[in-house]
Symmetry: C2
Subunit: 221 residues, 2 copies
DNA sequence: ACTTTTATTTAGATTTACCTAAACTTTATT
DNA sequence: AATAAAGTTTAGGTAAATCTAAATAAAAGT
């Protein structure tokens, strides 16, 4: 396997993520946005990654991973998710705070280290967010259907879990009638504050903040 | 604490190491050699680190860490040595192979991560090589007196351990009369192959290779 | 003290990963 | 279909960390 810089790895990972989220070809803008950088920088990197045969790319036509690129992405994702497991299971971090740390740890590229870490953790199949972990050969289970509400794409959803167990949140959800198994309809998503307007059955619609929606795990019905 | 790049951290760590090994002021050449880079690059970085007040440096006069610089060094060393403990204790790596991995892991700068890792490991005081681990406040125990023979500075030494337990090595040492507690006199160190000429008591001198001397742990008498 | 050798620094380039501003394509709107 | 808007690329530049080659300073040898 080729030797990638940290920047290159981050691009590959983001392209994989955006492809998985649905776009046929990943656009320059979407990638710039995902990586918190400028479109011009994305174009530069796209040329480099094409040169290395990790992506297919034609001017103005967007980006897709080649099979080599996918292999690389899965290896990075494997490292990321195993470190997340380690942080949560062994160092008792909460699942919300591990992402950034795993983001750094994932760039230590050593097959041996990662395979031993996996053994040490009991070869887990899913990470603390519920995402599947690719095995040493790059095989990965089905992507999870369950996502936090603020990221859900579908309009009709069912509540499957609440991740923040603070009484304040639980009381709020109770008051709104949101509990496990509740079916929600997304009426509207407001860009400016990422709040979401919801409806339950035939009851009047109401709005919840991004903070709240982040902690409601849902799956499409 | 300031935010250092990986390159800067590596310089700080090497300067600390060379200071500890005895030089009053660390020379450009020694540092270039330690970091496997060119003297010109060291001069560049010295200017930058001086700017950041981590070292004192005057043209042609060598380098020393300031107290800020020492604090930074101890923090990096703490991270490095804790990761070494983790790799050996939890992932069953052998102590010779952990250095390079720890070299990468050490650059993940998170106090919280490192303190939790330390707790998880039972707050060890020494790493797998026998070196002391600075605590969260930067306090560190006495540097170990025991070193592999190829690094020992003193001329009169006592054998305190043998790290490679292969029969081939043990037979060789036995034939030469080297065992635990044996007193050695270093007669000469040969630069070209790092071999060492030794004498035991009044017996005739003999020479051992670097390979062998790396596996003989000694302390000064 | 002078000269040679060794060590160090400067000057000028290079590479990676960015950036801004301007130019150019594609897509959407009238 | 023409034009406006949005998205993308190019051109040219910057900062970090490196390098080589040349210049300069310090140390060692005579």
């Amino acid at each position: 396997m080729m030797n990638l810089s940290i920047a290159e790895e981050n691009y590959i990972k983001s392209i994989y993520k955006l492809e998985e989220e649905g776009q046929e070809a990943v656009t320059t803008n979407a990638l710039a946005n995902e990586l918190d950088t400028k479109p011009a920088s994305v174009t530069d990197m796209a040329k480099k990654l094409k040169e290395k045969q990790l992506i297919s790319y034609e001017k103005y036509q967007g980006i897709n991973l080649t099979s080599e690129g996918k292999k690389a992405a899965l290896s990075i994702i494997r490292r990321h998710r195993l470190w997340e497991c380690f942080l949560v299971d062994k160092l008792s971090f909460s699942w919300e705070e591990v992402h950034e740390l795993a983001e750094e740890l994932e760039h230590v590229r050593s097959e041996k280290l990662i395979n031993r870490l996996s053994d040490f953790l009991g070869n887990p199949q899913i990470d603390p967010h519920g995402d599947p972990i690719p095995d040493a050969l790059g095989k990965m289970g089905k992507p999870r259907v369950q996502t936090p509400l603020h990221k859900a794409k579908a309009k009709r959803l069912e509540v499957v879990a609440v991740s923040d167990k603070s009484t304040a949140l639980l009381e709020f959800l109770n008051a709104k009638g949101i509990r496990l198994g509740t079916q929600l309809d997304v009426i509207e998503r407001y860009e400016f504050d990422n709040s979401i307007e919801l409806k339950i059955r035939n009851q009047p619609a109401f709005t919840i903040s991004e903070q709240v929606s982040k902690n409601i795990m849902v799956k499409p019905i």
